[in-house]
Symmetry: C2
Subunit: 211 residues, 2 copies
DNA sequence: ATTACTAGGTTCCGAGTAA
DNA sequence: TTTACTCGGAACCTAGTAA
């Protein structure tokens, strides 16, 4: 749309249906363009039918036309669509390998989780089968935190990415994606402060939504 | 915001967080500007930090930066505020003068209502006491229809403005404002296909929301 | 095939000023 | 005071091309 700043200014000051009494000089100052440009642009917007302009001896009176309102509504709709994308996915509970429990018991991991997520994870992860593409989009939209790897005298523990999420609309947790993961994003691992399986009464095959 | 069309295009195609693989030639065709302009604008948007651009031998790979997303969100918020103004008010049921019933029984009114509103009003109006200013803003935001006056051999019936509304979240009706009204907008008259008092179980003093 | 530079034409902006 | 015209200069766009 053309000359959006001016239309937005009018809409803000006058409301969608009201009128704005002002002057080209004042508008110029507020919009940080010259009085001449304001004058010209108001003419153009009027001719093109986006606004209605009445010139008086003491200034101008402006309001949006249906066409102008329509443009704002269209733009709003477009933005709505862009911004309100996939913000949740569902996954099916499935068996993990019991590794999660071992990892989540490591003190170094636990400390990092506590400081990054403000909770210490229950020792054990919930594995969810999800749509791979859906999960990628979903996680891309989330804030990514990073838990670094470390070494003990026995072995090396890798780093992992970590995305805070809300599980089943009420429990704060996180999706974790180990750097060297055994499964792709077809499966997603979830941690939380409590045992999700028990407090959500989950069994294999049940569906859980995360957001 | 500068170069909104390009940012919107990327956001539409790639989503907020995804990446778009394309070429300046293709973008030029879709946006109806020259390849050179696309090339330059992508450089500018990249330098200014609204998008991230990677140039490959076969085209460009684009994604929005946090700054770019922020701009979209800000614009969206602004539009939200403008568009989602007062879209409902509440009123207290009160006694009318019984005139409504007489007017709504007039065949010429009934026919016009039917064609404008797609319902024939129940013979009688519901009077609601509302906040005057609130009502003005509310009605200003509604589509205004006009029912013209007419004459019979006995007398003259005036025209009236008519605003389709939803009553109590479920019943389609309309606010009517006679051209020569006896009350100001402190009281609002409502019509609907059915008897609102009975189907909503209303008595004087009860509150009704209209939107 | 790309991207993107240069050059020249067009559009746009705003200082000056008339009404 | 206004709005809005003229006109010179700045900004912007694209055809031609190099890489």
């Amino acid at each position: 749309m053309k000359d959006l700043p001016i239309i937005l200014y009018i809409a803000n000051k006058a409301g969608l249906h009201g009128t704005l009494t002002s002057s080209t000089v004042l508008l110029a100052a507020e919009l940080d363009i010259s009085q001449q440009t304001v004058s010209r642009k108001l003419q153009e917007l009027d001719e093109e039918g986006s606004i209605k302009k009445q010139t008086t001896p003491v200034g101008v009176t402006l309001s949006l036309t249906e066409k102008g309102k329509g443009k704002l509504r269209m733009l709003h709709g477009e933005l709505q669509q862009i911004l309100n994308q996939q913000t949740n996915i569902a996954g099916i509970v499935k068996d993990g390998l019991g590794e999660g429990k071992f990892y989540m018991s490591q003190e170094q991991y636990k400390q990092q989780f506590q400081s990054l997520l403000n909770f210490t994870p229950y020792p054990g992860t919930l594995n969810l089968a999800v749509d791979k593409n859906g999960a990628e989009v979903f996680l891309a939209a989330k804030k990514q935190l990073y838990v670094s790897g470390f070494q003990t005298k026995e072995r090396t523990f890798g780093g992992l990415k970590c995305y805070p999420v809300l599980i089943a609309k009420k429990i704060v947790g996180a999706v974790i994606v180990p750097d060297r993961t055994t499964h792709t994003l077809e499966t997603v691992e979830i941690i939380a402060a409590a045992n999700l399986r028990s407090i959500l009464k989950l069994e294999n095959g049940k569906e859980v939504a995360i957001q």
